[in-house]
Amino acid sequence: MPFKQVRRILVLMLAVAMLSFMLACGDSDDEDEVAEDASTGTAGTPYKPSGNEGSITGAVNFTGEAPAPKPISMDADAACAQNNPNPQTEDVVVKDGKLANVLVYIKDGKTADGKSITGFAFDIPATEVTLDQKGCHYVPHVLGIMAGQKLKVTNSDPTAHNVHPSPKSNKEWNQSQPAGAQPIIQTFTRAEVVVPVKCNQHPWMKANIGVLKHPLYSVSGENGAFEIKGVPPGTYTVATWHERYGEKTQSVTVGAKETKTQDFTVDASAGKTASLRLLEVMPAIEFPSASKH
């Protein structure tokens, strides 16, 4: 009798051992796969908040001479002027030396326990991010959203618009939205900084949507202030993106439950984006000598 029992226990143990071994094997396979995919898709290890998260706050300062906003003529569409009596360009909005409409986000870096921040899959908020069309302007002009999060585009104008983002690695769409129409609900499935949005009918209308893999971003307000919440402790490359002055990065370390204050500076000379500079390889200068030979 005892012998039988021992045998049963042995068999049981063996089975358990094998099972756990198999499971372990299986799991490690999965990790292999994930590791291969993490850099590209939205997939990754789910991020579980530890309660130690800190935040990054600060302001975006502007140095140099800010180009003055230019007035926009909206004569073409009477409905526009109704909601927007004094329309002007908003590509550079500076007030008291602070720059608004700057997307500040964590671009890269490692958490305190050495894991790449881009390897995590953060929960996608159920709330929508709203982009309104009001007075033939997009409100807000720059916004951040997580990949997979819902974007809700509303039309508060008494005229028709069309919403036309031109992304590089997301699906492109161009939808008409007449006055009083239902909001357009769309999602961007891949991270992309940034997706420009325009309205073909009112070509001055422009918005920029930063699509990110994580919720660690913020857009500077009129006073240049921003706040990135829920940052796991670690050292990160924080990027500031502005539609005219391009992207700039800076390293920021956040401790556990720390509210890190970090200001950024954008200079007026930052100018153009790199791709457009290519064409400036050969600036046109005055004709040297036509009758040299």
């Binding site: 299986g26 422009k206 390889v281």
Partner: protein
């Protein structure tokens, strides 16, 4: 050893040895040998068994490996796969569908149950009746048969039997109660049985129909639900995966074999490559062993990377080795299976050359979808000029076609003469024969011959027309060198010949290393490189045309830059020094240093009209004609493709254009000057060493010799070498040359050992690839790397050395060309039967032909012609912004479905659509659109018929025609006369063949140029677009339902409604409105668009042209119709028709009058950006394009005056646009418009200043 017993026979005993010699057989033990033998036998048996089971069948191990790895992957997948299925099942949408399906099922259930019960009862009744009824019927049939076959006397009796049978009653146990199953005995005769049987059957059918009807809704809902599930689960469902695992568990370990075409191809590749046709997409990573690196097995088990390709090339029909090469039969080792042996003719193509396999069947396709490397190879072969020296069947379409049609004409003419002779003889014979019938027969035959001849004459006429067109379409890879004196700086020529890549990195002009004494290969063999180079330069210089180009004043470089970057020049040309800094297309030259080599006046003339030839060439007389030739025959000195292409001396067809593919952008002279000025501003003003030797007449003959030697005339037009034959080897079947006939020369040993001939070190073998390169791939790769490589170490006369120059090729290009060459095996060398070759005769043939033209002119530089293909422009920085994207030329994926082919024909002839009236609806429908129209030099623009009616030919307008004096003596033959032709008189620029604008998209800055296609190419192009969109040909327009007055009112209201802002973007023809428009004029729609396409376009433009400015969701579904998606004018409440259809009909039937009514009720277009240039805008209001009003009143003479005026205007230097305001002193209205166009009216988003 036993003692020998003593006997009396001593002698005998003595004879025997005392101790007998040791008998090895007896005495020695053989057990060791036996053991060894036995062991050997055992071993060989074991080996034989092993070899039988495994040695000869290594694939068994592979198969086991596959099953185990695949199962592991499937199980892993099942976890993630089912998760996805669960997600879908938990989604709201699915639950809703599921609920609806269940509800419907429940609702239908009671009635269904009733019906089922009744059917059950009927079935039981039927069961009772069927047997007796069928028995009875059988018996009656037997008796009836007997009646039919029996004698007349017996029939009556038998018929009575039938009646008797029918009367007889049978006992039936008929169920009477559906519930209790109680039966009742009934006695029925045949008629009653039959009736009962039929009634029951009918009732059952009725019930079954009703049952289907009742459950229809539920069934459909269930189907919708399941389809939803199927559509939304990503990857396979758990069920499908289970099925795969189950299949793996019963895996059949055996050879997998495909037999193709009567066993010509026997492929066992799938014995190891088991994943190829799996439904899943299997990648090496899926077969990776945990914790180990990717191994060869993991790579072998993948699924075919292109399921689409497999679908059209079903392996059961094509096998594997037919495309991939390799030895399909071999299964014993990987090396054998892959055919990697020098004696196997078709080794497996390497991964990077995989598409070589496509070429053997698709050699006639210029563009092969899905084979980008091969297509690139073909592009390079043509564009980089390989085709200049090497014949390749199909690549020289015009020249081959020309030779063919000339040959055929000759044959036909002989036939014609023969027929004529026979007919005359028959006439005579008919008069002499006695028999009437015979005479008639002869006469009839003579008549038939004459009619045949008239048909032959028509054919000859056609062939001659063809020949003319083919001559028009003939192009050269390099520029015309008869122009060098007019075009180039003399000193630059020798410098260029020495090192073209040094002057212009990446240029098509290869380095002729024989001409460069600094080149490593030529160091040893060429002592006289300098002399040869000088001689060639001297010949070119001395044989060139001489003359005076119109003097050009410098233009505005800033404006030129703007034009260069926006008109579309960069789809072919690039700017930027060094290969890595170049921005733009690689189809044509990099223009950064053009100012250092060329004459400004020539470049202006070239930009203005690149096809404008200096003097026509007569292939019959083999010389360039002069003005004297024309005057001698009393003809004006005019030559062009518009009816002035014949030789005044003998009527032969002339070469009247520069043989370049560069089109005419219909720019004004001023614009041409601006662009040239910009280009000239880029150069650095290099100095070249003195080259006065080029005028030495003694060098000329020598030069002619070397030009012939190096085949310069294969790519360039050179006087005296017009009929030069190709000097290179034909490459059509180069890939199937036997390896021993590829001349590795002294490198054979290196190749076999895998030694790198450039470094003399061994190649590294990696990724399972061999270092040895004694194969076709190795030969081609090394030759492309360094063409002269196989001359290394050879003792040869300089002239016997390989003449192939060193072309500029990137590694990627070399691979593409190698792929192309490896696949070039010809008909004989193909791995597959000729019946496999792709030789379509239907619409697909039209597509095949079309690609040759599309690639020839680089249409894909500006347009997206193919789904998924990006144009060159699309990738340029100025087109990457949202604003830039709106400036891209239209995508042409659905062009054939979009436009009327007749319209397309006219558009391709003259893309400015300037001939005749500007109003397209008034323009006549001329069948062969526009050919005659474009003959009219309508440089005076599009404003009405006034100018187009002016005769521009002959005396009155002579000053407008190309002129030149006939002073020089024509040089006949190669270098016969010392000096070139003299054409010293300055010539005016001829008028442009169309207006300075786009025909449809006036708002685009990129310009559709005039290509001067021959009717042949026009037809090919139109057919191509029709075929791609599956359109019928010839096109017959569908009638459109006319609009009622009420409908017209409705449509107008919708058009002008704030909610449907069509007119915010579309042109209306009103300059005030149009200045910011960004979409075509509706007035052109009726003539241009097809209704079906327009309807689909309205519903979802993004589907037709992704990224278009036209938004989707303009209409929504309402039952069977589409209604406008937005607030509708009240009058629409009563309208029951389809709104999209209404708008299509309205658009396609729009009249100018109706359009002005529309325009009156709508705001102006809003397509501009900020209004920083508001004041300038107002000044420039009257035109969408600056040249139109300026040109409107210009007459032939007036125009010239204007040019001079403009040329004489003094302009202040233009500052940079940003920062410094553009100040212009130009007084003409043009300057104002310029300012609007690129100065202030347009403000790019991020402030760059291109």
């Amino acid at each position: 050893m036993a003692e020998t017993p003593k006997t009396d026979t001593d002698a005998l005993a003595r004879r025997e040895p005392e101790t007998p010699a040791r008998d090895p057989i007896i005495s020695r033990s053989t057990s060791n040998i036996l053991l060894v033998c036995a062991l050997l036998l055992m071993a060989s048996l074991a080996w034989a068994l092993y070899d039988e089971a495994y040695g000869q069948r290594p694939w068994k191990g592979m198969q086991q490996e596959f099953v185990s790895r695949y199962n592991r992957y499937l199980k892993r997948l099942k976890r993630t796969g089912t998760q996805s299925e669960k997600d879908v099942k938990e989604s709201e949408a699915y639950k809703e569908l599921d609920l609806a399906a269940r509800d419907a099922e429940q609702a239908a259930a009671p009635r269904k149950k009733e019906i089922d019960n009744e059917i059950k009862f009927i079935d039981s009744q039927l069961a009772a009746v069927t047997d007796p009824f069928q028995n009875k019927r059988g018996r009656i049939t037997v008796i009836n048969y007997n009646v039919e076959t029996s004698d007349e006397s017996d029939k009556k009796e038998l018929r009575e039997d039938v009646e008797e049978e029918k009367r007889e009653r049978v006992e039936v146990k008929m169920p009477v109660d559906p519930n209790s199953g109680k039966t009742e005995d009934q006695k029925l005769n045949y008629t009653e049985l039959e009736q009962k049987y039929l009634t029951l059957k009918d009732r059952k059918a009725v019930l079954l129909t009703e049952r289907a009807e009742v459950s229809k809704e539920a069934d459909e809902l269930k189907k919708t639900r399941d389809t939803y599930l199927k559509d939304n689960v990503i990857g396979l469902s758990a069920e499908q995966i289970d099925r795969l695992i189950e299949r793996n568990d019963k895996f059949d370990y055996s050879l997998r074999q495909i037999n193709v075409n009567g066993d010509q191809i026997v492929d066992r590749c799938e014995t190891c490559h088991l994943g190829i046709r799996e439904p899943l997409e299997l990648k090496p990573i899926n077969f990776k062993r945990t914790g180990k690196k990717l191994d060869a097995n993991a790579r072998a088990f993948v699924s075919h990377p292109s399921k689409e390709l497999l679908q059209i090339h079903n392996p059961e029909r094509f096998g594997c080795s037919s495309c991939h090469g390799g030895n399909g039969r071999a299964t014993t080792s990987i090396v054998k299976g892959h055919g990697r042996h020098r004696f196997w003719l078709h080794p497996l193509h390497e991964r990077e050359n995989m598409e070589a396999g496509c070429q053997q069947c698709h050699s006639q396709d210029r563009v092969l979808q899905g084979a980008n490397v091969l297509t690139k190879g073909k592009d390079l072969f043509q564009e980089r000029g390989c085709v200049g020296c090497h014949r390749y069947e199909g690549f020289d379409r015009e020249t081959d076609g020309l030779a063919n049609s000339r040959q055929t004409v000759k044959q036909l003419e002989e036939q014609l003469a023969a027929n004529d002779r026979e007919a005359r003889q028959l006439d005579v014979e008919a008069g002499t024969v006695a028999d009437e019938t015979e005479a008639q027969a002869k006469l009839a035959r003579a008549v038939a011959l004459r009619v045949t001849n008239s048909q032959l004459e028509a054919r000859i006429e056609q062939l001659n027309v063809q020949a003319r067109y083919l001559m028009q379409d003939q192009k050269k890879v390099g520029p015309n060198l008869k122009d060098v004196r007019l075009k180039l700086r003399k000193e630059w020529i020798p410098a260029w010949l020495k090192d073209p890549q040094g002057f212009r990195p990446g240029t098509k002009m290869p380095t002729f290393w024989y001409l460069n004494p600094d080149h490593e290969l030529s160091k040893n063999i060429k002592q006289n490189a300098d002399t040869e180079r000088a001689a060639i330069a001297a010949y070119l210089w001395q044989s060139s045309f001489e003359g005076q180009l119109p003097k050009q004043e410098p233009g505005d470089a800033t404006h030129g830059k703007e034009l260069f970057e926006t008109k579309g020049c960069m789809a072919c040309h690039s700017i930027g020094e060094g290969v890595e800094n170049q921005v733009g297309g690689t189809f044509a030259a990099n223009l950064t240093r053009v100012g250092e080599k060329a004459d400004f006046n020539y470049i202006v003339r070239w930009i203005y009209n690149p096809r404008e030839r200096w003097a026509p060439y007569c292939p019959k007389e083999k010389r360039d004609l002069t003005r004297a030739d024309y005057e001698k025959n009393g003809k004006p000195y005019r030559f062009d493709t518009e009816g002035h292409s014949k030789c005044p001396n003998d009527g032969a067809e002339l070469q009247v254009q520069n043989m370049t593919v560069m089109p005419n952008f219909r720019l004004s002279e001023q614009e041409s000057r601006d662009i040239a000025t910009y280009l000239f501003s880029l150069g650095k003003g290099a100095q070249w060493p003195d080259a006065s030797f080029m005028d030495d007449p003694k060098l000329k003959d020598q030069g002619a010799f070397y030009i012939k030697q190096y085949g310069c005339a294969n790519c360039h037009e050179i006087r005296g070498f017009e009929d030069e034959q190709r000097i290179g080897k034909e490459l059509t079947a180069e890939g199937s040359t036997p390896i021993e006939r590829l001349d590795f020369a002294l490198l054979t040993h290196d190749a076999e050992k895998g030694i790198n001939p450039f470094t003399d070190k061994e190649y590294e073998a990696k990724d399972g690839k061999e270092a040895k390169w004694y194969n076709h791939k190795g030969f081609f790769e090394h030759k492309l790397e360094e063409p002269g490589i196989y001359d290394k170490g050879k003792e040869k006369e300089p002239r016997d050395h390989l003449r192939m120059p060193d072309p500029y090729l990137t590694p990627e290009w070399k691979n593409a060309l190698t792929t192309f060459l490896l696949g070039s095996v010809g008909v004989e060398g193909a791995n597959v039967p000729a019946s496999f070759f792709y030789q379509p005769s239907d619409r697909r043939k039209d597509i095949q032909d079309g690609w040759w033209v599309i690639k020839k002119y680089n249409c894909m530089g500006c347009h997206s012609v193919q789904v998924g293909q990006k144009s060159v422009l699309q990738e340029l920085p100025q087109y990457l912004t949202p604003e830039g994207k709106d400036q891209l030329p239209p995508a042409l994926m659905t062009e054939g479905a979009r436009v009327d082919p007749n319209w397309l024909l006219r558009f391709l002839t003259d893309p400015s659509l300037s001939n005749g009236s500007d109003d397209p609806t008034v323009r006549a429908h001329s069948g062969m659109a526009g050919r005659n129209n474009s003959g009219q030099p309508s440089g005076s623009g599009s404003s009405g018929g006034a100018t187009s009616s002016q005769p521009q030919q002959g005396g009155a307008a002579a000053s407008n025609q190309p002129q030149g004096d006939g002073g020089g003596e024509a040089a006949s033959g190669a270098g016969a006369s010392g000096a070139g032709q003299q054409n010293n008189e300055a010539r005016e620029m001829p008028p442009q063949p169309g207006a300075n604008k786009n025909g449809v998209r006036l708002y685009l800055k990129a310009r559709m140029p005039t290509f001067n296609f021959s009717p042949n190419e026009l037809r090919t192009l139109v057919r191509f677009f029709l075929a791609v969109s599956s359109q019928q040909e010839p096109f017959i327009k569908e009638p459109i339902n006319p609009l009622t007055d009420q409908e017209r009112n409705l449509a107008r209201q919708l058009f002008t409604s704030q909610q449907a802002p069509c007119l915010k973007c579309h042109l209306t023809g009103n300059p005030d409105h149009d200045k910011n428009a960004s979409a075509p004029n509706f007035l052109q729609a009726g003539e241009r668009l097809k209704p079906g396409w327009t309807f689909r376009w309205l519903l979802d433009p993004q589907k037709v042209i992704p990224g278009t400015a036209m938004p989707s969701e303009l209409f929504k579904r309402d039952g069977e119709r589409w209604v406008f998606n937005g607030e509708l004018p009240e009058s629409f409440n009563e309208y029951k028709g389809d709104h999209a259809d209404l708008l299509v009909r309205y658009m396609l039937q729009l009249t100018p009058a109706e359009q002005s009514r529309l325009a009156a009720g709508s705001p102006s277009a809003t397509g501009g950006t900020t209004t920083t240039g508001a004041t300038t805008n107002a000044a420039a209001q009257s035109s969408t394009h600056h040249s139109r009003p300026a040109r409107a009143k210009a007459t032939a003479t007036g125009r010239q005056k204007k040019y001079r005026q403009r040329a004489g205007l003094v302009r202040s230097p233009a500052g940079k646009r940003r920062g410094v305001a553009v100040v212009r002193a130009r007084g003409s209205r043009e300057s104002v418009v310029f300012a609007r166009q690129y100065g202030v009216g347009y403000s790019p988003p991020s402030g760059h200043s291109w």
